[in-house]
């Protein structure tokens, strides 16, 4: 495996964690977030600052998850106040607020970003194994949550909040927990990213990132673990596969996003799932 493949697979692993983390919030619990990149960024910045302050790698990762998760729980609190489309736009606002705060704070690196983040202490193949192991753990955790009692509660809230409340599900607590877990995992992805590139800047955590993560979730089939993993791998590879039409890369990306929603709104999971059912019937 060359250096190119190593870094490509590492990025795929990080993106899988990030997409699955949003899937917990938007897919399982039905709370559409347009600002998920902020928590990815919060994790990255927390890990980078802690790392530069001399904390060991593992401690930095845990710290990043705690910081991102606590701020995420706070935003989960917002979701108790505003719902649906209001929430989507509010979370978009949270994303821009994060960018604005970092941009005007010198201790967060401002426009320049944070460079010279210490090494994690692994060589590149080892780091890839670590990232993929984390991604596998997050995927397993997602499946576990989906099958648990809490997953059922999330599902009920996604379907119809008011009915879920009437059935005795603690809607407020479950929503905040979904946000806390999802954003903590985004923090994990951020920390892994910071230690992988060893330089972080605002460009990686903007609205475009939030949108692409949401695209991975929605194109995969919102709520489906393997659908989201598949779509993430596909969408991360796509710019590489379309390198030969470099100029039209984004056009194809935007067009694909639109086409999937227009013609297969259930995403890959529904598309392939439906195809299999039809095959079995035939």
């Amino acid at each position: 495996m060359g250096a190119y493949e190593l870094s490509l697979f590492t990025v795929i692993g990080i993106n899988v964690i990030l997409a699955l983390s949003l899937n917990l919030i938007s897919g399982y619990c039905g709370q559409i977030s347009l600002g998920h990149a902020a928590f990815y960024g919060i994790g990255a910045y927390a890990a980078a600052l802690a790392g530069k302050a001399g904390l060991p790698f593992a401690a930095c990762v845990v710290l990043a998850m705690v910081v991102a998760g606590s701020l995420g729980a706070l935003v989960g609190g917002i979701s108790l106040r505003v719902r649906h489309d209001f929430l989507a736009i509010t979370t978009m606002g949270v994303g821009f607020l994060f960018l604005g705060v970092v941009r005007s704070s010198d201790w967060l690196g401002g426009e320049l970003g944070i460079s010279q983040i210490p090494a994690a202490g692994f060589d590149k193949p080892m780091y890839l194994v670590l990232v993929l192991a984390c991604a596998a753990l997050v995927a397993a955790f997602s499946v576990y949550i989906k099958r648990s009692w809490m997953g059922a509660a999330f599902d009920a809230i996604a379907d119809d909040e008011d009915t879920a409340g009437v059935l005795g599900i603690d809607v407020a607590r479950n929503k905040i927990v979904a946000f806390a877990i999802g954003t903590a995992l985004a923090g994990l992805a951020g920390a892994l990213y910071a230690y992988y590139t060893r330089f972080i800047g605002l460009d990686s955590f903007g609205f475009v990132t939030s949108i692409s993560v949401l695209s991975m979730v929605v194109i995969g089939g919102i709520g489906s673990v393997w659908g989201v993993v598949g779509a993430t791998v596909l969408l991360t590879l796509m710019p590489e596969l379309f390198r030969f039409i470099n100029d039209y890369k984004l056009l194809v990306y935007g067009g694909l996003l639109f086409a999937v929603m227009r013609f297969a709104p259930g995403g890959l999971a529904a598309l392939i799932g439906g195809g299999l059912t039809r095959l079995r019937r035939a």
């Binding site: 938007s26 559409i32 917002i78 106040r81 505003v82 649906h84 489309d85 209001f86 989507a88 736009i89 509010t90 978009m92 606002g93 949270v94 821009f96 607020l97 960018l99 604005g100 705060v101 941009r103 005007s104 609205f207 949108i211 949401l214 695209s215 929605v218 919102i222 100029d247 039209y248 984004l250 056009l251 990306y253 935007g254 067009g255 694909l256 996003l257 639109f258 086409a259 999937v260 929603m261 227009r262 709104p265």
Partner: protein, 286 residues
């Protein structure tokens, strides 16, 4: 004096936001879709205004081109993109719209080049003294146009048969339909009006900054989303108030809070703060 100047600048900026936000809020009120691709129509208006102005030298022709192109594109987006997915969950239309906007931005970049265009002879640049302040003619024209457009919209909605049909369709689509209103025609009308206004806003931004570029729609459109949420989603009057309020808050905020937050973050901080106090928007009841 500084206060007055900030207030006037804020209101002028707010009138631009209002022109963009009206289309968004009309579409949301009717279809419950967050119409991100609206920003692409704004950019389209800007580009065609510059192109036609440079070719013909007539500002009127430029305005007509900007409005007509945006209106046509808006109606095409409704027909080809939104109509088939109206019965799907809301995030489907949202993501489709985002995809469409990304694709539109790329089309502008590929067709008109990545560096943007400028007027050969920028119109409406003469300074005008008013209220003891010096303003550009373009700024006054923009505020006046916004005012006329909103007044016209109000008169149309309240004093014509079509306007009544439109309001009825927003309030009670099924009952309106059983009274013989064709909901599809009303939706085309909404996209026609809203998109034409966005195209016109594109022209004014092109005039005021003498520059159009593929990404010029991004920031105004994010802010327009904040505005329609502040206005209570789908509430036209609320959106107008929110647009002007946001313009003024930004004008004052960049002076007094510029060290803590930049202009864009300020707009969203304001939005989040208001929503925490009034989750139904500025003017909403309940």
């Amino acid at each position: 004096m500084l206060y007055l100047e900030l207030l006037v600048q804020g209101l002028i900026q707010g009138s631009l936001y209002a022109m963009i936000a009206v289309g968004l809020t009309l579409v949301y009120g009717m279809l419950r879709i967050l119409h991100i691709a609206h920003a692409g129509l704004f950019t389209l208006g800007g580009y065609l205004a510059v192109t036609v102005m440079n070719a013909t030298g007539s500002l009127g022709a430029a305005a007509l081109a900007a409005m007509a192109s945006a209106a046509l594109a808006g109606m095409a987006i409704y027909r080809l993109a939104y109509q088939p997915i109206l019965d799907k969950p809301p995030f489907v239309a949202l993501v489709a719209s985002i995809g469409l906007y990304i694709a539109l931005e790329e089309v502008f970049r590929l067709v008109f080049g990545p560096y943007g265009l400028a007027f050969a002879q920028p119109p409406l640049q003469t300074p005008v003294a008013a209220l003891g302040l010096s303003l550009k003619a373009g700024e006054l024209a923009m505020a006046a146009t916004a005012l006329i457009a909103m007044a016209g919209l109000y008169a149309f909605a309240n004093h014509t048969r079509l306007g009544t049909a439109w309001r009825a369709t927003v309030d009670e689509p099924q009952i309106a339909e059983s009274f013989g209103v064709n909901p599809v025609r009303v939706r085309y009308l909404v996209f026609l009006i809203g998109s034409a206004l966005a195209g016109l806003a594109g022209l004014f931004v092109a005039v005021l900054s003498n520059q159009v570029e593929p990404t010029m729609g991004a920031v105004p459109s994010y802010k327009a989303l904040a505005i329609i949420v502040l206005g209570g989603l789908g509430d036209v009057r609320g959106s107008l108030v929110a647009a002007l309020a946001l313009g003024v808050v930004e004008a004052f905020g960049t002076i007094y809070l510029g060290d803590v937050l930049d202009r864009d973050a300020l707009a969203f901080a304001f939005m989040i703060a208001v929503l925490m106090l009034r989750p139904q928007g500025l003017l909403g009841g309940r």
